[in-house]
Amino acid sequence: MIPATFSYARPTTIDEAIALLTKHGSGAKVLAGGHSLLPAMKLRLAQPEVLIDIGRIAGLNTIAERDGRVVIGTMATHAEIESSALVARACPLLGQVAARIGDAQVRNRGTIGGSLVHADPGADFPAAILALDAELRLASPRGSRSVKAAAFFEAMMQTVVQPDELLFEITVPKTATSAAYVKSEQKASGFAICGVAAIVDAQAKTVAVGVTGVASKPYRATAVEAALRGRALTPDAVAAAAALAANGVEPLGDIHASPEYRAHLAAVNTKRAILKAVAQG
């Protein structure tokens, strides 16, 4: 369990990182916390020629408030997000999700940017950033662009991030406390076989539901959201709507959970997440 050889670069600015990405193209991989990439490299499933370690670029792990939104640097670790007072106040869902990732050691090293770009179908953060309508900010030689969370994930382990692009920050709107994350875990790895993040806006009478672990890419449970728009969130109404949580998706199946069970958990966890969010006021 030893990675193949590679050459290593440690830029100190985003521009420098972009220049290295541009130079090395698809032979390069960005190393953030390394908790997705390094295991793949040790199994020799990934064998990049060049590893670009963005761990020393100043400011990339900032968690701050800007223009009414919460801005999270790509290198913010799960632990930093979990323990951030700002996140707890302004966007508690992210902290809740961060706390459910892996284990304490993994959360100390794993980063939100690394997790999102790796796009493992069982990763936790995607459920939250979808429900939150996050914006993901990418830098490239062409400047920077913003991508809505809903447009970020393309397929299993695949995002819109181009080989010469770097995800450098994620911004989310400030949200109320009425949010919850309910997760069924793959017992061995700790990844989600179904994780549902729900945000309830009592005034606007809307819910937002992000689902991870169920399909090859995370998704918004739009049928559930539509069914509950403008409705009172009674347990019966929520249960009926939650039954639509896997509508139109093709659930994954593996030794840990069949497609049918994943679809079922999507409904159960959606119901539970919405009701929990309601209960949190």
Partner: protein, 166 residues
């Protein structure tokens, strides 16, 4: 092609030229000769390789040595001070928190971090804090006892208004 790194390990400054692919755990074990940190899975699940990097518990099998450049690393060998055991080490001994001992260094390092986060951890908090550490011998109860005991011991040593000894 090597890269020079400077790491402070258990209070001692070290400088080595290493291959970029060298894992931190192999750096500690093979280059620095600190074999107390163990390897149990290599996929960042079992936690036998847990060390503190800049005070935070990390799995050293899932970190490159070059990523630790400039860091302060504490391994199990650096935990006892002036010949006396750390309270978590004491707890493991007193409570029979180990059998074969292989997961133990990682368990102890994880335990140290749990006590950094929670001065008075509940048993649930301890269990949650050990989620990243597998033990196949003990069934965990005595390990939780050990960390719970260490929390009490540490509070006792601290005294009122005193400095944290560890």
């Amino acid at each position: 092609m090597t890269q020079t790194i400077r790491v402070r390990i258990n209070g001692t400054a070290r400088e080595h030229a290493v291959e970029p692919r060298l894992l931190l755990v192999h750096y500690l074990r093979e280059v620095c000769g600190l074999t107390g940190t163990h390897i149990g899975c290599e996929t960042s699940i079992c936690g036998a390789c847990t060390v503190l990097v800049d005070g935070k518990a990390v799995k050293s099998c899932t970190m490159l040595a070059v990523q630790a450049d400039g860091s302060d690393v504490t391994t199990i060998e650096g935990l006892a001070r002036n010949g006396s055991l750390h309270p978590v080490q004491e707890g493991f001994w007193e409570c029979h928190g180990l059998q074969c001992g292989y997961c133990t260094p990682g368990m102890i390092m994880a335990g140290v971090e749990i006590l950094q986060r929670h001065a008075r951890p509940t048993r649930e908090q301890i269990a949650e804090g050990l989620k990243g550490n597998l033990c196949r011998c003990t069934g965990y109860v005595h390990i939780i006892d050990a960390i719970e005991r260490a929390a009490g011991a540490r509070r006792a040593e601290r005294g009122v208004g005193g400095d944290l000894k560890w």
